[in-house]
């Protein structure tokens, strides 16, 4: 196969800006591929990706599953004799790919640059604040706060149509923020993943096979094993220098899984069942098993993100990884969600203990923290497909593709 080379100089410049400023230093000695525990003879990354980037072969890189299979342990960067930092370049390629596949493009561009940080915070902050204003700018008295917690943040009562109680005010407004945001993220993810899959297929010449797996086959043979691998961190563990990061990533991942179910439970119990059983409203009792799971998860999230934060600092200090907005933004967002979430709960609980007149102010502070929690959650949802958080979908996609690429469907197709 011959490749007609059309270098994209703009792409090289973009890469240099996105943390890959050292990419041109590579002289292809392949030390990186040798030290990399994941690189193989057939897929000698990151060496090959380095020359692709030097040559401005954007098309090759954005459809390259190998860049998404890297866990950025930084071994290549540590051992690189030229200071070309292959690990950082791989990160920059991923950042570029997330932006490239991101939809809508303006939002994707916005979320991929540190310069936009104020705006990135301001948008959700403003949305939540406006919704709060629209909902009536409700501030509970501290007595009510002790009883209802934050469940009446967007006001009390029900939203009714023709006398039929639809949802509580609060849930209505939360949903009005979060559901469109999540839907946008979901749609963007779907678009991105399908586009990536197509690009990867085109680049590797996959896709001409007559016989393709059915959806259940696909899930069973490719997607599910990938998910299992991800959850068990099998590949991550191969990068031995990442031990510390795994220690942070694992609790964080479990926290997200747990909180996902807790949120679903909460949605069902409060918003569906709660309509018929009003006592389900309000904060869950502390002894409720679901609440225990939620609290454990919240703690795990904070522990995990603290470990990752420290690790990232260490990497930057050891020159193993760059100091990029792409890497930090996700850490900040998750830390924000964790700290404000747990913080709001703790403030509520302190309020219950009744600390004299301090309570008057505490519940206002609680309100503020809860507000920030909503903002940070919205950020996480909204920017998921464009920031490092997108690894959630794209890495899964690449790992699935890798399995598919190496399967009999592709290697030995029926023609």
């Amino acid at each position: 196969m011959s490749m007609n080379v059309q270098p994209d100089i703009e792409f090289i410049k973009d890469m240099k800006e996105a943390g890959g400023d050292t990419l041109k230093k590579c002289f292809q000695c392949a030390t990186c591929s040798v030290v990399c525990p994941l690189s193989t003879d057939e897929n000698p990354f990151p060496r090959q990706q380095m020359i692709y980037s030097q040559w401005g072969l954007k098309d090759k890189l954005i459809g390259d599953p190998n860049t998404l299979l890297c866990h950025h342990c930084g071994d290549c960067t540590t051992h690189c004799p030229r200071g070309a930092k292959p690990g950082d370049v791989m990160g920059a390629i991923r950042a570029y790919a997330y932006k490239f596949y991101g939809w809508p493009a303006p939002l994707a561009n916005l979320a991929s640059s540190g310069k936009n940080l104020p705006l990135l915070v301001a948008i959700p902050a403003l949305v939540v604040f406006l919704v709060w204003l629209i909902s009536g700018a409700n501030v509970l008295s501290h007595e009510d706060f002790l009883h209802a917690g934050y469940t009446n943040f967007f006001g009390e009562g029900y939203m009714t149509i023709f006398g039929f109680k639809l949802l509580t005010w609060n849930v209505t407004f939360i949903n009005s923020i979060m559901i469109p945001t999540a839907a946008l993220a979901a749609f963007a993810s779907f678009k991105g993943v399908t586009a990536l899959w197509k690009k990867m297929s085109d680049n590797t010449g996959v896709g001409e096979a007559l016989y393709r797996p059915s959806v259940p086959q696909f899930v069973k043979e490719f997607l599910w094993p990938s998910l299992v691998e991800i959850v068990q961190h099998e590949r991550f563990k191969k990068c031995e220098t990442n031990e510390e990061r795994i220690r942070g990533h694992q609790p964080l991942m479990w926290a997200f899984i747990a909180l996902f179910f807790v949120t679903i439970y909460s949605l069902i119990s409060q918003d569906v069942l709660g309509r018929f059983i009003p006592s389900l409203h309000g904060p869950m009792a502390m002894w409720n098993p679901v609440k225990i799971v939620a609290n454990v998860a919240a703690v795990a999230m904070i522990v995990g993100i603290v470990i990752l934060w420290k690790n990232r600092n260490q990497m930057v200090e050891d020159n193993q990884g760059g100091n990029t907005f792409y890497d930090w933004f996700l850490i900040w967002m998750i830390a924000g969600v964790g700290v404000t979430g747990l913080g709001a709960e703790v403030l509520r609980l302190i309020g219950v203990v009744k600390l004299g007149y301090l309570v008057y102010y505490l519940h206002l502070l609680g309100y503020l923290v809860y507000y920030l929690h909503l903002v940070s959650v919205m950020m996480l949802f909204l920017y998921m497909p464009y920031t490092k958080f997108a690894h959630l979908i794209y890495r899964t996609c690449a790992m699935t593709f890798e399995r598919y690429r190496d399967s009999a469907y592709v290697k030995n197709p029926v023609k």
């Binding site: 490749m3 090959q48 030097q54 040559w55």
Partner: protein
């Protein structure tokens, strides 16, 4: 000179502990010298002892049996009129004693016999040597001829003039400057080595033209150079013309016969014979050869289309385009012809062509801004030393794309060129669409096309065996980089090695200094190199010469011409004092004041050969002084065990080993002879280029002679030793001795 001997034995450095001092003194006494002992001859007291004898007793020949002659040379140097001979009892004997043999009487006896033999040899050597008289020329010319007016020639001329020497610089074309005149930019010469610089050739030319010690002759060539260092006679001619003084080709004895019989055409018809002296010739003391290079022809690589496709050019042609104006935006620089079975670059390519590609890639970037695309397709990028920094700088440019690649085809495609390449670092075959293709044509030294130096020597007008160096005028790239095989001629710049400008300037400075060293050495009557300062030179006893011409043929440096009668005509200032002529002479009429046939032969004969003990075999080992001897010393310094049946005899070069010494050794009952010298062949290390090779050829012949006497030819052998082989030498010797032991003692022993 009446010799008054003084012999001294040092008992320090464990010599006195290991050896029986009285026995050693007895060995000297047998040969007529009474040896005085001292515990530390190199110390103040020891020196006083010797100096007192010199002053009071008039001692003028000192025998020092102590450490190796390679150490303490200044200490035991008592001036030019005094001969000092050193017996090596320390490194060769005392330090080879092993602690575990301390109480072994037999081992001690063997060691003692070795020690006594070294004392005997030192004594005999002192008796046979005379004080050398330097060869003084009647007249000497100290000016320097620089051939070539490029960077190398200009630098050499400037440097020699700075040192106070008159210089004549000749240039074939009509102006000075050479290749550098055509450069748009030159490589960076200072930190951070990132920016190309404006060529400073005009400045260099101005320096030379304004220097009144330098005479410039443009449009001039050398017809012939005859004579020798200190008195070279140079015949000049207008460039491109023919002259009756053009240097003649070598015509050997057999060819001469054929020509006389009319069976062969005389290649030198119409030319003056090489022995004839041109009265109008200019006299110079030494020559710096800086005739440079030409770009290689790359049209033989048809798939690359040079000469058939438009816009496929060589790097030299591209430089010209760049100098004249803007270069195209998309350019592929091809560094290797792209064979599928090897990764060779174009002929005569090296680091310079790599650097040129980088430099020219910068032209592409500079002229075309963001549209620039400079592809460098290489098999090797060579950027040694600081040039690596330039490589790093060019790598950073967005418009420069490099990959290792096998270029398979360049073809025309819709108004532009399509370059196809395999085995790239991108993991796929490439197709590049470019406006221009630049092929890395190498730098062919002028010595590939013609003899260039045009010497009127018996061995011919050019340098010998340049095919060992791909035609570059280099004779010993490791040890003596500027030296050619013609003493007094020093090559530098592109004719010696493909070099950058910076390297060339260093190189030319070195060559100029070498030329000065040569002139001054000739003036003082001493050897230039490698035996710098050696006062001796070969002395011929011509009455017995049979005109066999072995010496003239074998001299690696063409020092000998023929006189009108066909007798060898020595040119002592061309000579490097290796003694290859002495080794070659069947009549044994060539010798040096302190190194001759009789001396070494007598030393061999003075080795005691016990004829009543089958275990006490004796093996004479002739050891090259340049690498093998120091290696044996180093082995001694490391206290390695050494076979006690061998006796080392230092020689200037294996080429100087006359076969009569081997016959002497065998006829005096010795059981074997080994020659230890430098490696020869393609990657030779012989300091005199050909000595060890010639010796091994001679040894093949002596093997046959031994065979006819009923002796095993294997009793004589040659081993190649590098200076770093000190740890292997004891093993090599043991193995050889073992093979002699198997053969048994020499049957002629005792006769």
């Amino acid at each position: 000179m009446d010799k008054v001997y003084g012999a001294y034995l040092c008992t320090g450095c464990s010599i006195g502990d290991v050896l029986d001092v009285d026995g050693l003194k007895e060995a000297a006494s047998e040969n007529g010298m009474e040896m005085q002992e001292h515990a530390c001859l190199c110390g103040e007291e020891g020196q006083a002892l010797i100096k007192k004898d010199i002053e009071e007793k008039g001692v003028n020949t000192v025998v020092v049996c102590a450490c190796s002659p390679r150490v303490m040379q200044d200490t035991f140097d008592y001036g030019d009129g005094t001969i000092t001979v050193r017996g090596n009892l320390r490194e060769h004997v005392a330090w080879t004693a092993q602690p575990e043999d301390k109480d072994d009487e037999e081992a001690a006896e063997y060691l003692q016999e070795a020690g006594e033999d070294y004392v005997r040899m030192a004594v005999v050597r002192a008796q046979k040597g005379t004080v050398p008289e330097p060869y003084k020329m009647e007249q000497i010319t100290k000016s320097i001829l620089v051939m070539g007016g490029g960077i190398a020639g200009l630098t050499a001329a400037t440097e020699a003039a700075k040192a106070g020497y008159d210089v004549t610089i000749i240039e074939k074309t009509d102006k000075l400057g050479g290749k550098a005149l055509g450069w748009r930019k030159m490589f960076p010469t200072a930190y951070p080595y990132s920016e190309l610089e404006q060529p400073n050739i005009e400045q260099m030319i101005a320096t030379v033209t304004s220097n009144d010690k330098i005479t410039i002759k443009t449009e001039t060539e050398v017809a012939r150079i005859s004579g020798a260092p200190g008195e070279f006679r140079v015949t000049l001619k207008p460039a491109g013309t023919e002259s009756e003084w053009d240097a003649p080709e070598k015509v050997g004895v057999d060819e001469r016969d054929l020509i006389e019989k009319g069976e062969m055409e005389d290649p030198n018809k119409g030319l003056k014979v090489y022995t004839e002296t041109n009265p109008d010739a200019e006299l110079v003391g030494a020559v710096v050869l800086a005739t440079g290079w030409r770009p290689a022809d790359v049209s033989e690589y048809e798939h690359l289309g040079h000469g058939t496709l438009n816009n496929v050019v060589t790097n030299a042609e591209f430089e010209k385009l760049a100098k004249e104006g803007k270069v195209p935006a998309k350019v592929a620089f091809i560094q290797s012809p792209g064979s599928t079975d090897n990764d060779r670059d174009f002929p005569y390519c090296n680091s310079v062509t790599s650097m040129v590609a980088l430099k020219q890639a910068q032209y592409v970037c500079d002229d075309n801004g963001d549209n620039a695309q400079a592809y460098i397709l290489y098999q090797h990028m060579r950027t040694p030393g600081n040039t690596e920094l330039f490589y790093k700088g060019m790598q950073q440019r967005d418009g420069v794309f490099m990959t290792k690649a096998t270029v398979t085809q360049v073809e025309e495609a819709g108004g532009s060129l399509k370059v196809t390449a395999e085995n790239t670092l991108l993991g796929e075959n490439l197709e590049l669409e470019v406006d221009m293709v630049v092929l890395a044509a190498g730098m062919v030294p002028t010595t590939v096309d013609e003899s260039t130096i045009n010497l009127a020597y018996r061995q011919g007008p050019g340098f010998l065996d340049l095919d060992l160096f791909d035609g570059y005028a280099d004779s010993h790239f490791i040890c003596f980089p500027y030296e050619t095989r013609r003493t007094g001629v020093y090559a530098c710049g592109g004719v010696r090695k493909a070099e950058t400008m910076e390297e060339t300037i260093d190189d030319a400075t070195g060559a100029a200094l070498k030329a000065i060293q040569c002139i001054e050495s000739a003036d003082r009557g001493v050897a230039v190199h490698p035996r710098s300062g050696d006062l001796t030179y070969p002395d011929f006893f011509f009455q017995r010469c049979t005109q066999c011409k072995r010496c003239t043929e074998e001299c690696p440096f063409g020092a000998l011409d023929d006189d009108a009668k066909g007798t060898p005509l020595p040119n002592p200032t061309r000579c490097r004092r290796c003694g290859t002529c002495m080794g070659a002479c069947p009549e044994r009429i060539i010798g040096f004041a302190d190194y001759n046939i009789d001396m070494i032969g007598s030393m061999v004969k003075t080795i005691e050969v016990p004829d009543d003990d089958e275990d006490k075999l004796r093996i004479a080992v002739f050891v090259c002084e340049n690498d093998a001897y120091p290696a044996i010393d180093m082995s001694g310094m490391r206290h390695n065990k050494m076979n006690t049946l061998v006796r080392f005899i230092p020689v200037r070069c294996l080429g100087s080993v006359n076969m009569v010494w081997i016959k002497d050794a065998m006829s005096s009952g010795m059981d074997g002879v080994l020659l230890l010298g430098c490696r020869y062949g393609d990657d030779y290390q012989c300091h005199f280029v050909k000595g060890s090779e010639i010796a091994s050829k001679r040894m093949e012949n002596i093997g046959e002679t031994l065979g006819s006497l009923g002796l095993e030819p294997e009793r004589c052998a040659v081993e190649q030793i590098a200076i770093s082989d000190y740890d292997k030498i004891p093993g090599i010797l043991d193995e050889f001795v073992e093979s002699i032991v198997e053969m048994g003692p020499n049957p002629f022993k005792g006769f």
